[in-house]
């Protein structure tokens, strides 16, 4: 690559690790190269606003918001309004949990910023008229229909106080909760709608596709809803209904039902050098293997409470782990092999918190239940194992799993794989997903 090609590759984000030192040396030594880069900076800045304009135009022409469109760009005008808005929320310091992705004829009454592109912290918003789409940090997307009032609690939880909304939850935000004054719904990967009718003093839930569980506020009663099924909570009673109608339909089908158990408490990692404070995080399950620098090796353990599960009725089971990117000491993906293989072992030994590498359960004390692969190019997503071995292990009374990475990094400072742990703020903890007979 010549000088100019290096600069273009840098701008396009396709410069290789090998070429980067050359590029940096070039900038250090050549004023001409820096001038060229800064010239291209001018062009990039212009083209980006050009592209954003195009995007905004297309969205306006489409006249609706595609539910899959995740990334939003600040419309130029909105940025200006926002300048003063930033100050407001940054002074408050809590980190944003959602962003206003788009709005159609929306008028707001809110102490939170309301222009498109605004980052939102927790708080209450009232949409008087129109439609507004909120994109939660967790990946869930909520279309509010005015008049509606919503309280943003966290990136995994909102409370609809009045009006209606449609919620679209991707795989990695499973477990998203919508509360209402009358109860709440836990999402299991779906598109569903909620209507809070203040006059009727009731909340209705309807699933387009997928599955949700609807509960009364005390969490006791539960109704599982699948495609095109609905339920209503009124006068403290949870009734199945056909969508938003009131026709009772108390025989909800249970066939092919999926139940999910999350590892809510006992999930942790250990590191070979036992410097837990420095290199581990309670929110994450960290896994690493290095043949050249083994002192930073990590493995993870998780426990599931299966007391409520009737395992004899289970047809199939799978383990799903959410790969996340928020571990700060993450290392380089370029130093990993293209395919990284992980193994899950069933273990019977318990562990205590803050345990050492030596005292924690070891793979050779457990039984291998399955393996999965993560490509080094993959940064997030849901990974895991399934199969009869896992089910047999659980049926034999096992409820603890151990996760290790079998493949080593190629050089020191390779990536540490981080999965959402039991207390991760905006991703779902390890989950066992049971398909019932």
């Amino acid at each position: 690559m010549n000088q100019e090609e290096l600069i273009h590759a840098y701008i396009d984000g396709r410069l290789s690790d090998v070429d980067f030192p050359r590029f940096e040396k070039l900038l250090k030594e050549s004023a001409e190269a820096r001038k060229m880069l800064l010239d291209f900076g001018v062009i990039e800045s212009k083209l980006n606003s050009f592209g954003q304009q195009e995007q905004v135009n297309t969205q306006l022409n489409e006249g609706h918001t595609s539910v899959t469109k995740k990334l939003l760009v600040f419309a130029y005008a909105a940025t200006l309004v926002l300048l003063l808005g930033f100050a407001y929320w940054l002074h408050q310091t809590p980190s944003p949990i959602a962003r206003i992705q788009s709005s159609e004829g929306a008028s707001w009454e809110s102490s939170l910023p309301t222009s498109v592109g605004s980052d939102l912290v927790s708080g209450t918003m009232k949409l008087q008229t129109g439609l507004a789409t909120l994109f939660m940090e967790s990946g869930a997307e909520i279309v509010l229909e005015g008049p509606a009032e919503v309280e943003l609690i966290s990136s995994m939880k909102i409370k609809l106080l009045g009006g209606s909304c449609v919620v679209d939850v991707p795989q990695n935000a499973i477990g998203f909760v919508v509360e209402t004054p009358h109860g709440y719904a836990i999402d299991y990967g779906t598109n569903f709608s909620v209507l809070v009718d203040r006059n009727r003093d009731s909340s209705s839930f309807e699933v387009m596709s997928g599955e949700i569980a609807v509960h009364l506020p005390n969490g006791n009663s539960e109704v599982r809803l699948n495609d095109l099924e609905g339920a209503e909570i009124r006068s403290g009673e949870l009734l199945a209904s056909d969508g938003f109608g009131t026709k009772p339909n108390s025989t909800l089908s249970a066939k092919g039902q999926v139940k999910r158990v999350l590892s809510h408490e006992n999930a942790t990692s250990v590191i070979r050098n036992n410097q837990r404070d420095l290199y581990l995080s309670e929110e994450l399950l960290l896994v690493k293997h290095s043949e050249s620098l083994p002192s930073f090796d990590r493995r993870a353990m998780m426990e599931f409470d299966l007391k409520e599960m009737n395992l004899s009725r289970v047809k199939q089971v799978s383990l799903s782990l959410n790969l996340v990117t928020d571990y700060p000491r993450t290392g380089f993906r370029a130093y990993l092999p293209q395919e990284n293989i992980f193994a899950v072992y069933g273990i019977r030994e318990s562990w205590e918190s803050g345990l050492s590498w030596e005292n924690a359960p070891q793979p050779d004390e457990g039984e291998l239940l399955g393996q999965f692969t993560i490509l080094r190019s993959e940064q997030s997503g849901s990974f895991g194992i399934e199969g009869p071995k896992l089910l047999d292990f659980l049926r034999s009374g096992g409820n603890k799993l151990l996760l290790v990475r079998l493949t080593s990094e190629l050089h020191p400072s390779g990536l540490v794989h981080a999965f959402a742990g039991a207390t991760h703020p905006n991703s779902v903890p390890p989950a066992l997903e049971f398909t019932m007979k």
Binding site: Y10, L15, L27, L37, I43, Q52, K69, L83, F86, R329
Partner: protein, 178 residues
Amino acid sequence: MTDHSKTEHLNEDFLRLFLSNESQLRGFVRSCLYNAGETDEVMQEVSLVAWRKFDSLDDKTRFGAWAFLIARYEVLKFRRKKARDRLVLSEEVIEKLGDDAGNQVSRRERQFSVLDECLDQLPESRSKLIRLAYRSDFTKKKLAAKLGLSEGAFYQKLVRIRTKLRDCMNHRISLDPQ
């Protein structure tokens, strides 16, 4: 003047000055960051810090140079946060880019002022390609596939368009050296 209307004036002045310098600041910030997507993050900080400190800037005609220092500082700060990421330029290189950018302010101003004309001159097919390529909701890889091009061929097209724009821009400012 009441305190309230004084504040309003300050806000208006700030917005006007910030906006007239925004593109240039953004261009510099973009040059220092490998990931285009991080530009917004740094620019937010720049705008916020500038807004907070605006009151303390006595000579408002110096806004450009002053905002530049803030941008440079914010890039360095961001860089420290990302020091362990891939492909992060060294502080030394960023300082050098900052020095150069600071010395070439009028060159960049003139570049911005002629760039629109250069963009207007692009043939429709190229203009369309560039509009699509810089939308943040398409990855370049997907777009290449959509256009039936190999990734390499697609990037080559982008390179050619940008080179053309740079030539046009620099040609125009050389005609009118001011």
